[in-house]
Structure formats: structure tokens, C-alpha cells
């Protein structure tokens, strides 16, 4: 998950380099005498990898705009807490100060996407972020999570 502007800029740069890399690889495969179908197959992994990074970059951009995905059954709540911190421009250090913990603790929690955190802990973090989460309960036949 991209968490900082510098990581975002590097990812964008990597996306541009990927395109150049894929073109160079294509040329190499042509020189090797591979046919068109074989070349398409050979570059598919590069394209998929590239597309995944692109989706990470787009997720960061959506986050910065304040566009959040619906959280289904808390599954992605940890990631959304991180996204919200990024959205409001609060650093890990600032969040740590508000929570009264070390910055390395926040860094560790975010690396784990708050895996294992108690409900009380998550509420503390939401309070520190001034984040409001509205949970709408649907019958189980409406949303499959």
C-alpha cells in the first residue's frame, strides 16, 4: 500500500519505466525469433504486474481525493484507517502523539493493517483521526462477504 507522496512519486516513475521495459523486452523477443502469439504470452506477466502497481497508484489517488471504498464486515477496515490518515494529511508521528504511543508502534500497526487490534483500539484511532464510520446492516442474502 502506498502511504506517502514520495512513495507515490516513485511508483509513478516505476510505471513509466515499466512501459519502457516492456517495449525493450518485446524487441528482445522479436530478435529471438519468437512469433507474435508467443511474445504476447511472454509479456503478459509484466503487463499484469504493471497493472497491479497502477491499481495501487490509483487507490492512493482516490484516497487523497477522499474517495473510500465501502468496508464490508470490517475486512478492509484496517486499510481504511490508514487511508483516512493519509487523506487528512496526518503523519504516523502525529497519530502516535495523539494516541500516546511511539511512532514505531503506529508504523507496526499499519504494516499489519491493524490485524489483531481490539474494537476499543480501533475506536481510539478513529477518534484520533476524527473519522466517522457508519455501519449499515444488511440481511445476509444481500451482501456476501
Amino acid at each position: 500500500m502506498i502511504k506517502t507522496e514520495s512513495a507515490y512519486r516513485e511508483a509513478v516513475e516505476k510505471l513509466n519505466q515499466d512501459k519502457e521495459f516492456i517495449e525493450l523486452e518485446k524487441k528482445k523477443f522479436v530478435e529471438m525469433g519468437l512469433d507474435k502469439e508467443h511474445i504476447e504470452l511472454a509479456i503478459q506477466p509484466y503487463v499484469s504486474f504493471h497493472e497491479q502497481l497502477k491499481e495501487e497508484v490509483e487507490y492512493y489517488e482516490r484516497t487523497k481525493r477522499g474517495e473510500f471504498d465501502t468496508v464490508i464486515n470490517l475486512r478492509t477496515l484496517g486499510r481504511t484507517l490508514i487511508a483516512y490518515r493519509i487523506y487528512i494529511g496526518m503523519s504516523q508521528q502525529e497519530l502516535a502523539e495523539k494516541l500516546g504511543v511511539s511512532a514505531s508502534q503506529v508504523s507496526r500497526d499499519e504494516r499489519n493493517e491493524y490485524y489483531g487490534a481490539t474494537i476499543e483500539r480501533i475506536q481510539q484511532i478513529m477518534d484520533a483521526l476524527n473519522m466517522v464510520s457508519v455501519t449499515k446492516i444488511n440481511p445476509s442474502d444481500v451482501v456476501s462477504a
Partner: protein, 177 residues
């Protein structure tokens, strides 16, 4: 095997059998009270083993794993990795792999990627079945001449020897028989 201050394995290739991997820090976790989902990590390795056995059966032996599974992360979503092969053999290899794989998940076609329950990235069929993504890499060629900020050539594996968000160098695991 130990994580550094960044929660990464120090750069290098760590050779482990599947059994060694099952009993390693990466599954059992740091024994210092760190929150760790050992059961989930063991499950991921079982899934990996199924794919690795398919690769071994078609003569692919250089298999590496990386991603957040080889980092100090309690509950990684999956296992990422790559294997080395000759690009000239790729078509045959994919066919042979899919002959033994009932769900024909051996493909890297971006069009076959599908979303999964609120995740930000779409995933390949192999991920949906096994929670493992293994990419082919076509040997150590002359490279592209493009270097990252650490001076690593941006050959495909270099993408696996660094974190995907901050591009920090890190160690990875080579699965050996």
C-alpha cells in the same frame, strides 16, 4: 533468519525446503509476543506447496517467494513469487502446467484478473484458487540498462527484491527440494 528494523529480511536469498519454511520464522513468527497469524501463514505455505509441486513436475526448480509473506506482517494476504524458465519453453510449460491443474489457473493474462471482496487490486486466477501468485522470469539476460535508485537493474526479479511501495531492498526465499 531475522527481520531487520524495517520488518524485512536483510537482502539475500534464503534457501529453504518447504518443510524448513513451515518451521521457519516466516510461519512460526518472532517468539517475542509479536502478533502473528501462524495458522494462516501455515495455510498459505500448504497452498504454495501444491503449486510448487506442479512446477517441479514440469522441471522448474528455481522458485522464489517474496511479498509481504517474507516480511514482519502478522497476516499477509497472500504469497507472491516467481520462478525461472526459458522464455522459449513458456508456451509448452503453461500447457503442461494446466494439464495437471484442474482449474487451469496458470495464466498471467491481465484480462483474467478479477476483483476480490473489497481488495484494491484485481487478482489472477491462481491467486483466487491458492492465494499464491507465481510469475515466470526468463533468466538473467543483459537487462534493460534501466537502474533503480539502489543501482539494481530493473530486470523482473529486482521488483521482487524490494518492497513494492517504498522500493526498499529486502531478502527473499528460494524454495529448494
Amino acid at each position: 533468519m531475522e527481520f531487520n528494523d524495517f520488518g524485512l529480511l536483510p537482502p539475500g536469498d534464503y534457501k529453504l525446503t518447504i518443510e524448513q519454511l513451515k518451521n521457519s520464522l516466516l510461519v512460526i513468527g518472532p517468539q517475542d509476543g509479536t502478533i502473528w497469524d501462524a495458522e494462516w501463514r501455515a495455510f498459505l505455505v500448504d497452498q504454495l506447496e501444491l503449486m510448487v509441486k506442479q512446477l517441479w513436475s514440469v522441471g522448474v526448480n528455481d522458485i522464489f517467494i517474496d511479498g509481504s509473506f517474507v516480511e514482519n506482517k502478522a497476516h499477509p494476504n497472500d504469497i507472491d513469487g516467481y520462478f525461472e524458465c526459458d522464455v522459449k519453453d513458456l508456451q509448452t510449460l503453461v500447457r503442461e502446467l494446466n494439464i495437471q491443474e484442474p482449474d487451469k489457473i496458470w495464466t498471467w493474462d491481465s484480462k483474467s484478473r478479477k476483483p476480490y471482496k473489497g481488495y484494491t487490486k484485481k487478482q489472477l486466477p491462481m491467486w483466487h484458487k491458492y492465494r499464491v501468485e507465481l510469475y515466470p522470469h526468463y533468466g538473467f539476460g543483459p537487462g534493460t540498462g534501466i537502474l533503480d535508485k539502489y543501482g539494481n537493474n530493473l530486470l523482473f526479479p529486482s521488483a521482487f527484491r524490494q518492497t513494492r511501495d517504498t522500493f526498499q531492498p529486502k531478502g527473499i526465499v528460494k524454495i529448494v527440494k
